[in-house]
């Protein structure tokens, strides 16, 4: 049987339609229905969207989400690219370094956050303990507990855990670059830096875009590390939109307002992705 006819209208259903039909139903039930339900929830009270405009905590959380996303993404990209280039240039031990570098990424984020919470403890943590042994005064180093240092401490954990992800993607991208253009540039007398800037980077651009997009979208939704490390504090120093949405929905039982904030976050993520794509295309 190659086609299934729909006799009432005489139209022909494409081959294989009924084979994928159950999957479509599952997708509709699990993805589209909750999305539409969230739209309904957010619109049930129109004040949900007007409240957003005057909600200072939402504004603070939004600004911090942007700062955290941009800072972590920039550092992770720079480190990931540097490591990828460095390890790609090694004559021996590439497999070992690649495997070793992936270890932080393989840990569940919650486990990594718990470990870092212990590491950051000002009194008993290994970080301040090591610094004290080296003769430093750590009395002012409060890491996640300090108003000025909490966000940077959270960013550091994210960089530690997710730089390997960018390294992995960029490393794969580097390996996929054909050798001919590189050899041609070398023959023309270009130096290593010139080859990297004018040949390697342009050829790596599709991978860079993909890596930044995937990591950027994930960063905008950051939740688990902050929930474990600081719960948004001290004060609101590490409050992010995801954390605020979680609290609004599951602690304050205000699902409509949480849905409204989720749609704003979704729109921001789409804008971020589009902006990134545009910027990369323009270069």
């Amino acid at each position: 049987m190659s086609v299934i006819a729909a006799p009432a209208r005489g139209r022909r259903v494409p081959e294989g339609f009924w084979w994928v039909f159950p999957s479509i139903l599952v997708l509709l039930a699990l993805s589209i229905y909750p999305l539409l339900y969230a739209v309904k929830l957010s619109l049930a009270d129109r004040r949900n969207f007007t409240r957003l405009l005057s909600d200072r905590l939402f504004f603070t959380a939004g600004v911090q989400t942007i700062v955290l996303t941009l800072a972590a993404l920039a550092i992770e990209f720079a480190l990931g690219l540097a490591l990828a280039v460095l390890i790609d240039s090694l004559a021996r031990g590439r497999t070992f370094f690649r495997t070793a570098l992936l270890v932080p990424m393989l840990l569940p984020p919650v486990v990594a956050a718990v470990a870092w919470r212990l590491i950051y403890n000002p009194q008993f943590g290994v970080l301040n303990g090591s610094l004290r042994r080296l003769g430093f005064d750590t009395s002012h180093l409060t890491w996640t507990s300090g108003e000025g240092s909490a966000l940077a401490s959270v960013i550091l954990v994210d960089v530690w855990e997710w730089t390997p992800f960018l390294f992995l993607l960029l490393s794969a991208g580097l390996q996929a670059i054909p050798t001919e253009p590189l050899e041609a540039a070398r023959v023309d007398g270009a130096g290593a830096w010139r080859i990297f800037c004018d040949v390697t980077l342009p050829l790596l651009k599709p991978t860079i875009v993909l890596a930044l997009l995937l990591r950027g979208m994930d960063l905008v939704r950051i939740f688990d590390q902050i929930f474990i490390l600081t719960q948004g504090g001290p004060g609101t120093a590490t409050e992010t939109v995801s954390l605020y949405i979680y609290r609004t929905a599951f602690r304050f039982s205000n699902f409509g307002y949480a849905a409204a904030m989720s749609f704003v976050l979704l729109a921001a993520t789409l804008l971020f992705s589009r902006g990134l794509l545009k910027a990369m295309r323009a270069r």
């Binding site: 300090g146 108003e147 948004g232 004060g235 602690r251 039982s253």
Partner: protein, 375 residues
């Protein structure tokens, strides 16, 4: 039920009751952070997924409407403060739950160091501050340790100070009063105590506070009964037998700890209501509560607290009972979770040095007022 020490005894009781009555009981344990959301979702949609729920007392006002009324009122052996939070409205209404875990904050202090420095047990917060200075300087340790992470942590450590200074968050008429001079003075005092606390206390939760006490590098703190056993456990503690437990110090008003009772209740949507009520009445009988106490559960019955064999085993029981009798619940409003979150943010900011006390309390009052207006 809560997947912590508070749920251990109830879980064992459920299994015992199920075996004795030939009823299959499935126990669902959830971490504190997820328990509220699961229960709230079940109650609001009346799915009947759970026949008995264990709830923290501040959740009761928002859940009471979806709980089944108790078929008969509890007896008078239960501690009154625990019974009051099972009634809707508070103190005067019908009963919708039974108190199972009798938690109230206690004051923990190093008895050996108080004796060394010839200090009497701390009766007032001023005495606490003076002792923190003296012991801290003399022993090269932290005189006091508190938790000031945003949310529940900092609010729980601040409420006894706020009440002792004569302040409150919301008054009896529902008006926000956390910007009163008494409340600002209480926060100033908290920051003063913070000077004798370990660096980074603005991010501390209960585990960090207890770690400092267990390591013997802090002399005093507010803490919950759940940590008493650890203080005297040689495997965990360097201060076995050195910590004394007392009711909360006073100041302008008598000392009052925060009540943190865990209740058991039957959802309206329960499909096995009769069995569920039989179980919760059985589990809170004196004999069962004594069994639960031996499993580490702070009781809610006077007769269990006063049992000589239990007092011999649990030296803090007299202090726990005194503290529980005097304990105050958090304000009885369905919006408490949201209010606590806002209040906690500003308290945490003040403790982290990002706001001065007056500024923090004015901002907290404004935020809490907005929450109450919205509802």
């Amino acid at each position: 039920m809560n997947a912590g020490v508070e749920g251990t005894a109830l879980k064992a009781a459920a299994q015992e009751w199920g075996a004795a009555h030939g009823v299959h009981i499935e126990v669902v344990e959830l971490p504190y952070a997820n328990l509220f959301e699961k229960e709230q979702l079940d109650l609001s949609s009346q799915t009947g997924a759970y026949d008995v729920i264990m709830l923290d007392d501040p959740w009761f006002p928002s859940m009471a409407g979806d709980l089944a009324k108790l078929p008969r009122p509890p007896d008078s052996d239960f501690v009154t403060s625990c019974l009051n939070v099972c009634r809707n409205p508070y103190q005067s209404g019908e009963y919708f739950a039974l108190p199972y875990v009798g938690n109230a904050q206690l004051f923990f202090y190093r008895k050996d160091l108080f004796e060394k420095y010839k200090l009497g047990p701390p009766q007032t917060w001023d005495e606490v501050l003076a002792a923190a200075k003296k012991i801290g300087a003399g022993e090269k340790m932290y005189g006091y340790v508190m938790r000031a992470a945003p949310g529940n942590a900092v609010v729980a450590d601040f409420m006894p100070l706020l009440w002792a200074f004569g302040g409150d968050v919301i008054d009896a008429t529902g008006k926000v009063v956390c910007n009163s001079p008494a409340a600002v003075a209480a926060l100033r005092f908290m920051l003063e105590l913070g000077k004798y606390s370990p660096p980074g206390y603005a991010g501390f939760n209960a585990d960090e506070v207890s770690a400092h006490l267990l390591e013997g590098d802090a002399a005093m703190s507010i803490n919950w009964p759940a940590w008493i056993a650890a203080m005297d456990d040689p495997a965990k503690s360097k201060v076995v037998g050195k910590i004394e437990f007392s009711p909360m110090p006073s100041e302008r008003k008598p000392g009052v700890g925060e009540l943190g009772a865990w209740l058991v209740a039957v959802p309206k949507g329960s499909k096995h209501g009769s069995d569920a009520f039989d179980f919760i009445y059985w589990a809170t009988e004196p004999a069962q509560m004594k069994e639960a106490a031996l499993r580490g559960n702070p009781p809610t019955r006077r007769s269990v607290f006063e049992a000589p064999d239990l007092i011999a085993k649990f030296r803090a029981f007299p202090a726990q009972l005194a503290s529980l009798e005097a304990a105050r619940p958090r304000p009885r409003t369905a919006q408490w979770n949201e209010i606590e979150n806002s209040f906690g943010i500003y308290l945490s900011k003040a403790n982290a040095g990002a706001m001065d006390p007056l500024q923090a309390m004015l901002a907290a009052a404004e935020a809490i007022g907005t929450i109450l207006e919205r509802h």
